[in-house]
Symmetry: C2
DNA sequence: CCTCGATAAAGGTACTACTTATTAGGCCGC
DNA sequence: GCGGCCTAATAAGTAGTACCTTTATCGAGG
């Protein structure tokens, strides 16, 4: 990534963090100086932010930071920036709610449409997760990697590009939570085998079972999080 | 919107339609000539496409059209382009599946978190929909507008920015389907009052009811579509 | 056959000049 | 004094050019 990417990330993170608050107007020339880069670079960064809806450029006015409601909250960049800012907990919660909504549907569709290799791979990953969990390695880098791979494959196996596109956000949600140490040290009973029964349901093509197990799994995780939040 | 936006839409639509197929390499200079605009304009358009994942720019190589799996299918621009291309039916189907996953969750959350004004407005819109439907105006512009407003408000009332961000895609799904005349001329019995019972459930704060009604409603619509597709 | 280095091709950055839309403010007429 | 119009100033948009940086490719030499 070049200077452009740096500026983009810098600006994106700051605005996502709320530093230049909505309503603030920035000037192209001003940014040009603050970041010591050419106009070209700034303009391209602004263009991207504009497409996310975070800013709006108007002639004779300047670049206005837009209210949050207008931002495209699903944009991968914005999600990442949000997870590195002061609102990361809320962002994680929102992501979790999204997962609860989306993954069961993906599981259901995957049971119908997944290829044989995808089904096999899902089973393999689930078994690996189960093994690692049994050994108490539920908070290691390795477990996280496999977990991410499993859920990503689940979403892509749905055959729905819109669901598949959520693999990245979901991965960041999982990574974000583990890296903040928000996972319970001792998982609730039954949580461990859930990946396995889910994978088996998909492999056997049982839509309802797949959906139900996915849903149960996510509700379990959700509950654990909510628990760790209160005290 | 200026020349930049034109070029962006032009390129986006074409690539989404599959004309420059994935793997194709474009040259900045070449595009510059084909569209008769300055390098600045092309570069900014490419930048945006790159952020959506549709192209990747590499030095000494050029601008490569990326495989579809790498595109951010949730990007509002891409969704719009897809709905204007040859794949619009698949896109509509994907969007519908997404709605089935997401809206019940939004309804459930809205029952808990919606403000009083939001609840009232939802009720008002639902009543309006009901009235229009009773009069057999289910395929008019007016009905579409209210329908879009209702579902958009439902999503934003969830209090979850990620769900709220789906208002635009959902709106386009509804508009796209009506404009293609894919709605059944005679709705299935019970469909008409569904908005109303849903709005009432949300207004009264009954999460489970809200979720159930939303789910039932969407399954109904989904079924109607599937029916119209087969023959 | 492999390695290293020269070369050229393409995007990335900088800078400058000019264009265009838009707002604010002043001027004039009523 | 008030309202509408005209003008000027401002800031983004576009164009064009020169130069930098990366990197694929190919050839010379080991």
């Amino acid at each position: 990534m070049g200077m452009h990417g740096d500026v983009l990330n810098e600006l994106g993170r700051r605005i996502a963090a709320g530093d230049p608050r909505p309503g603030t107007v920035l000037k192209l020339a001003q940014l040009e100086q603050e970041h010591s880069v050419s106009r070209t670079v700034i303009r391209e960064a602004i263009r991207v932010l504009e497409n996310i809806g975070m800013v709006a450029a108007r002639r004779r006015v300047g670049i206005t930071v837009q209210p949050r409601e207008l931002w495209d909250a699903l944009d991968p960049y914005l999600i990442q920036w949000s997870l590195h800012g002061p609102l990361r907990h809320q962002q994680l919660e929102s992501l979790m709610e999204l997962r609860v909504a989306v993954e069961p549907m993906a599981a259901s569709l995957a049971a119908e449409r997944a290829t044989v290799t995808q089904r096999a791979e899902l089973l393999r990953l689930a078994e690996q997760l189960n093994d690692l969990g049994q050994q108490g390695l539920g908070q290691t880098e390795e477990y996280l990697g496999v977990d991410v791979a499993f859920h990503a494959l689940l979403l892509t196996s749905s055959g729905n590009p819109l669901l598949a596109a959520m693999a990245t956000p979901v991965a960041e949600e999982l990574a974000g939570r583990t890296k903040l140490g928000l996972h319970p040290t001792v998982p609730a009973p039954g949580t461990l085998e859930q990946h396995l029964v889910l994978a088996r349901a998909i492999a056997s093509g049982d839509r309802k079972e797949a959906e139900a197990h996915s849903h149960a799994h996510l509700l379990g995780v959700w509950g654990e999080i909510a628990q760790g939040k209160a005290p």
